[in-house]
Amino acid sequence: MHGVVPLKGRTAEVLSREEILQIHQAALEVLKDPGVKIEHEEALDILNRGGAEIDQAKQVAHIPAFLVECALNQAPRFMTVCGRDPKYDLKSGTGEVHFTNGHGATFVNDFDTGERRPATKKDLEDNVRLHDALENTHFIFPEIYPQDVPTRALDRHISQALLSNTEKPVIATAYDSKGARDLIRMGTAIAGSEEALHQRPMFTVSLGVVSPLLFERDRVDVLLEICRFGHPFQVYNIPSAGGTSPATLAGTLVMAVAELLAGLILTQLVKPGVPVRLEGYPSIIDQKYGCFTFACPEKALMAVAMAQMFRYYGVPHGIHGATTRANVLDAQAGYETGIFDMFTALSGSELIIEATSSGMENTVLSVHEQAVINNEICGMVYRILRGIEVNPDTLAVNVIREVGPGGEFLTHRHTLEYHKIENWDARLGNRMASDEWVESGALDIRAKAREEVKRILATHHPRPLDIDVQRKLAEIVEEAEG
């Protein structure tokens, strides 16, 4: 899957080199004291053997700076997550920007009735199929958490829906060590063997650090299982300034970096060289409404700052694009995601998470149309990232001479050759004049997006898994339901 190198490598920066070093130094101090709490004895032992000082009573690891250096030396700089179809392989470290969908909606707007209702597994399957079709979704997260399946098997249901309904790489889900083993079984069934899964890992799985500075037992179990298997892993956090991290953006960045480095250290002590992606989604608490805010300028600034920190460390990474806070598909939904996707993509981060999300209401609600609109926004963003090609042929002095004063360029062969290369072809946005737009039904962007969703869901069917593999996945899910 090819992304775009932004503006020939000229990326947006919000931190100076010196500020990056200041944040790094402060994060090292935080890792040492207060350190991180890890509700997992085995993991604490591993950190202890690595050189961290452990307070057993408090389950806290005080992590010295040299462990950061070691982990950064051991962790691969590059990471590839494979599609079932190799054309979708997602490579990090190429300088290219890629987009992903979002995660975690528990409600949907029913596509037929418009009614807001709890999400189902069918909604998730449709959502994955939709993103399989959207050209600017390069990596598929579980954007919907179904509410119609037993909680004890929720992670298996999610992973099954993702792995079955797209040929693109996915973020699968495991909530505990048994879930992690089941996920490896699913991957092995699809790849054909453990060896084949190692060769072409088609999913990663994540551990979310609970800010401030807490690693939960079950999630650490998942880390141990997946990393020991040698499979690509992700560590993310979502500190919220003024709630679970300092109210200052710099302080939140310090804590965000410290938490992710602690996660990276643990993975490299468990299995040196295991590929790990770090993802930071710091934002703020809105102190009037008392909620985490997914699309605010502070979050955009911190996202770009995180991209700079990750580049400084030389690790595979991702930052957050936007999920709108809006409750309906309105102008707020458009400007929040538009500004966010543009600015975060300018950072040059290899993965802009949530960019093509169907999520609204801070990811609580999934609306198919929003994904299609965001896909269009990302197309526009990509065109801007591609920048301006300057060479003798594009400078076109000869063409200007041939056409001459008062002429026209429309019929020149140079136009025929270049208009498709230079111009982005808007698919949904209206470019019709008023009378034609009225005649064509006066559809606004919501209606246009709705038609596009309808078209995709009716016609787009990714290659299904072999029937034996489908059966195997279904067995794993059933077992977990018990």
Binding site: E408, L410, M432, E436
Partner: protein, 209 residues
């Protein structure tokens, strides 16, 4: 004939010329090659253009391919006494030099089998009248891009009336500031917002005669 249609759609001038020559040599009548080959191809292009499925430069390429075939057919059509299709006098009105849209209309009309007499841009009313009379045109087509030059359309229509030509020609107008209401208000017979609909409108007007 299908291959001529496809070659026009693909905008392959060389191929169109070859295929038309083959058809002529093979004894196919010139007016069949025109209507079932070249015009049929341009009709498909026009339809795609109307739906915004193709880009203008590609449309123009098809028009060029169509012309390549027409050059071979013209002498034969003239010799056989078959008409070349209704005549359209086309220009931008006095004071208005914006002619890209007008040129597109010209190409589409030619593609649709009309004889287009393009008299250029910044054309005073008298000249429209003079050419319409000399050429015995069935249609006068005018465009304006500016609100300031738009009134010249009415001046031209009034001049056609004064010279006793108004009943003999259909008048169609277009251009960014023009609306169907304005067209009706100044006494034009039709309005089109773009080149593809101009083609439809002119067909409709000529058929109504």
């Amino acid at each position: 004939m299908i291959t001529i249609v496809n070659s026009v759609i693909e905008g392959e001038a060389e191929k169109v010329r070859e295929l038309v020559q083959q058809a002529i040599t093979g004894g196919v009548s010139a007016d069949r090659v025109l209507s079932e080959g070249l015009i049929a191809g341009m009709n498909v292009v026009g339809e795609r253009m109307r739906k915004h499925e193709v880009f203008l430069p590609e449309v123009l390429l098809s028009a060029t391919a169509m012309h390549a075939g027409m050059d071979l057919l013209k002498p034969l059509l003239a010799a056989s006494g078959v008409g070349l299709g209704p005549k359209v006098v086309l220009g931008t009105v006095k004071g208005d030099i914006h002619d890209i849209g007008k040129n597109l209309v010209g190409m589409m009309l030619t593609g649709a089998g009309f004889q287009v007499v393009d008299i250029g841009r910044d054309i005073p009313a008298e000249r429209f009248v003079q050419v319409a009379r000399e050429e015995q045109a069935q249609v006068v087509a005018m465009s304006a891009l500016l609100t300031t030059t738009m009134p010249e359309m009415k001046v031209t229509i009034d001049a056609l009336k004064a010279e006793g030509l108004r009943e003999k020609v259909k008048v169609i107008v277009g251009g960014a500031p023009v609306s169907p209401e304005y067209a009706a208000q100044i006494g034009a017979d039709g309005y089109a917002r773009d080149a593809a609909s101009a083609m439809d409108k002119v067909r409709e007007l000529v058929a109504s005669v």
